[in-house]
Symmetry: C2
Subunit: 288 residues, 2 copies
């Protein structure tokens, strides 16, 4: 399969669905709807919602059944970026080469746009076809982004700025701040595709592995890559990163080991010519 | 019935349930859990969750069945206050006579504590006994606090600071910013008590009336009452209030008319010696 084509086609599908499910820009009070759309349509790769669709198909489901929940995941990702960029948190003026939400719409609107994206994500979850499945998705997603998941990781990240490198803390930050939502993306796809408990276990393990690998790659690309963010913004703020704890070479090795494990798990079940296998490889090789 | 005793007993029930359902203060990362609890346990009257319990009982349900969702409503209320108080929004240093969350824990933690309270509210909704009911609650609550509800009201409130008094805009702000969540509190109680569609219609109307009356009373108490907030903070910021549009006398008259309508609706169905009837009267008479 051609993974680049697969990612492109499905990103377009997600974009189209996001466009459908977000409030129109001219709906009163229009500034908040503009700020929400500005934060969502930012050239993102849609890797998280694509993981949901791919997981759904992997276990024999139709990807349309996972589309709303996949959009919810992307809105949650967008909310987390809008709030992370705020002056009181990471104080990032740019995101993917454009002014961040608070630079464009002001701080009050950015706080509320983040709140609104999170709220709308949960509204979308309620709109799935099957209420029992929706409830399970609600439980998994809300836990994954709670203080025991994504928010917990973000808090630990802030608390450990300008601190000595510490491997267990770093592991906590990365698995929670980034890994939890990526893993949840995979899990909800499996649930909505009506995967078995065994399949869910396998894909959860896969999700954990690629979630951590994704963030290590992010740390590497902060140094080596050409990202839209200002260069080395994490390093400027003395954030705890894989590079600060392990150095570049060991970080690359660890990322490749995680990807290797993830594709090994998939290979046993579904072979290598499958989207999730190829997405894992893509995460390992990504350069942006 | 003794409404003061009723409110006290049920506020204690809610407080005890909130204490059970919030993450322990010493759980890592503890600062966020401390900030969440600080923002929830602030001497609030718990009027919203009590409305949920009372509505549930009014239609013949057991209030225990509405307890988790009622706690979710209170967490949402707490999240909205934490974010409203932020420097970029209302910039309130005090809340009920204590430092507001960002003054106590810093701005980054206040943003994240608000996010975490909202997220935890949705997690609690998933924990109700009946997944189908949970899904309906999810849909109603997430809509009520969306940009078409509470957030929309907050946005309009900000956009209309220092603007000329305007009755339709004021009506929009009050029914959305405060009214939507109060109305949702009543509705979810009715749903969880397995009320009929007719009962739901009636209680929705009741909820809309007391929701607006509650906010008008709030505007009046900003001037007349002894609140923990600094005096006239809305007036200092030139917020649009009922008093700025209608003056004190007319505001009081309108509030009493709304309460009158609300209790009239209830009287027809359930008589006057009932919690919801007495709560409406209490809102009309409250002085703090």
């Amino acid at each position: 399969m051609d993974i680049i084509e697969y990612l492109k086609t499905n990103a377009e599908l997600i974009d189209s669905a996001l466009n459908e499910c977000l409030p129109p820009e001219d709906e009163y009070p229009d500034i908040i709807h503009k700020a929400m759309r500005y934060s969502v349509f930012n050239g993102g790769k849609r890797i998280r919602p694509i993981l949901s669709l791919a997981a759904c198909e992997t276990v024999g489901g139709k990807k349309e059944d996972a589309l709303m929940a996949a959009c919810a995941i992307e809105l949650i990702h967008a909310y987390s970026l809008v709030h992370d960029d705020l002056p009181a948190i990471d104080n990032d003026d740019f995101r993917r080469g454009r002014p961040s939400c608070h630079k464009k719409y002001g701080e009050a609107m950015a706080i509320l746009a983040g709140d609104a994206l999170l709220t709308h994500a949960f509204y979308l979850i309620s709109k799935g076809k099957n209420p029992e499945q929706n409830n399970r998705i609600l439980e998994d997603v809300s836990y994954a982004i709670s203080t025991f998941g994504m928010i917990g990781g973000q808090v630990a990240d802030i608390l450990n700025e300008n601190k000595q490198p510490d491997a267990p803390v770093l592991q906590y930050i990365h698995t929670h701040k980034t890994g939890a939502l990526i893993c949840a993306s995979v899990k909800i796809g499996c649930i909505l595709g009506r995967g078995t408990e065994k399949e869910l276990d396998t894909l959860t393990k896969y999700g954990e592995l690629i979630g951590l690998a994704f963030q290590i790659k992010d740390d590497i690309l902060e140094i080596e890559g050409e990202k839209g963010k200002m260069r080395n913004s994490d390093e400027e703020k003395s954030k705890l990163t894989y590079l600060s704890v392990y150095g570049l070479k060991e970080s690359k090795y660890q990322a490749s080991q995680l990807i290797h494990k993830a594709i090994h798990i998939l290979d046993e079940f579904w072979g290598s010519n499958t989207p999730l296998y190829q997405i894992a490889k893509f995460i390992g090789n990504r350069e942006y």
